[in-house]
Symmetry: none
Subunit: 140 residues, 4 copies
């Protein structure tokens, strides 16, 4: 799964792990229907308490990212189509955008530079996406 935890960042472990799993889903590294490690296995590999993983899977299930099947395990959910209303989506992303802008502008970046950074991050997410049909192409 390649999840890395920064124990000294102050950010809660469960948030870190959730974010990395979300990223893996968005970038396509985790495909819909794919089975997640069991709570006990993931807890062991991350060296955290099983109940912490329980919370992680719970939160992801709440957000519609994984679905949990009793006795079988957790699985990446099939495309979660619009659980939230479009206004909510807009509001959530708008808030994150504002936060990013405040920090960037405060530290002297221009809007253009910030958007360039956004595009660069998007490129990284896309680059992580497995492209099974064109694996050998490097700079397409």
């Amino acid at each position: 799964m390649d999840i890395r935890i920064n124990y000294s960042s102050g950010e809660p472990i469960c948030r870190q792990v959730c974010d990395q799993i979300k990223l893996a889903v968005v970038s396509g590294r985790l495909q819909a229907g794919e089975k997640m490690p069991s709570i006990r296995d993931l807890a062991q590999s991350l060296k955290v308490n099983p109940t912490t993983v329980v919370r992680i899977y719970n939160e992801l299930a709440h957000e519609g990212i994984v679905t949990v099947r009793q006795g079988q395990g957790a699985f990446i959910a099939e495309g979660a189509p619009q659980r939230l209303s479009p206004q909510e989506v807009q509001r959530v992303v708008g808030e994150l955008a504002r936060k990013m802008l405040i920090e960037g502008l405060r530290m002297g970046m221009s809007l253009t530079e910030i958007i360039k950074t956004v595009r660069a991050q998007y490129g990284e997410i896309e680059a992580a996406r497995p492209n099974p049909t064109e694996r050998s192409q490097k700079s397409a």
Copy 2:
């Protein structure tokens, strides 16, 4: 000061206030050298605990945004509030951009829509900025 607190967002109050003060600085509403309200005044106007304001001023001082002069109060710092190296700036903003992208993409937005949202938020920030060509006007 026009600081608005969202008590129900789950985001710590001190963080909200810090962010809005930073925003006021980058948008030019607060000019270098300007005096900040006293701790007890700000606490009263924001209806928060004075110790919370203490923490806010401490954090802002730590980030180089205000300077506290013993017995005189807190002032917006003169120097550019840019303590971090360009790489650090890039890293911080990049991280915020990634979080925004992950949420937006996950909820079905395209890169184009997300960037549109960023521009819209930037517009709102700019709208709050006092018009630089009419600096000398006091009560416009």
Copy 3:
């Protein structure tokens, strides 16, 4: 708060408590903005573990029923307008309706009787609603 827990029903404690709080909210017994008991207090009065109450408040916050303010406590949320899309609402209620119908029909009730039961339950919820302006009227 008048919350009663049935320890032998097999239904999880947190679900029971959540349901009763939701009921109190829709019936108006708990008003928007009202303060909930602190985690420790509620835990003590319900004689459950504080972490169980943490889970309860967490879930209610996730559903937009309460808002939690760090260091201040939990409060009934101001009217949560349409967090879910109308289709989701329809789906959720439809599922609950179907379940009720299956049980009722299986046990020999007619659609008419079932709907009568629904109306009766609605009456009970309404009856529990505090009516501050017409308190003395009995059978209005």
Copy 4:
């Protein structure tokens, strides 16, 4: 048998299957005396663990919906599957109605809309019922 399992709803599989069999009984698709599939057949067609089917038949037998005859298999029970007193029936359905109402009202639906949803669900159940005037037709 036309049983559909929603693996991602979080509801236990055994409960889902039980409910659908009950539904088939009340809607007349399964007639009294009719033979149920063998445990291993049903397990295979539903792609679930045989022990899950064992539990399902046990639960249905316990509720008086099927009767298990040693060495012959399970059959839909002859007598009306009404074990509970009218008061009990009222209580069970009332509880389900209340839960439905709480969710619906909380999400902004009116009583009228909720009852409309109930009728719509009833319509779907009726649509699945084989036409009683054409009972003798086998392959209609």
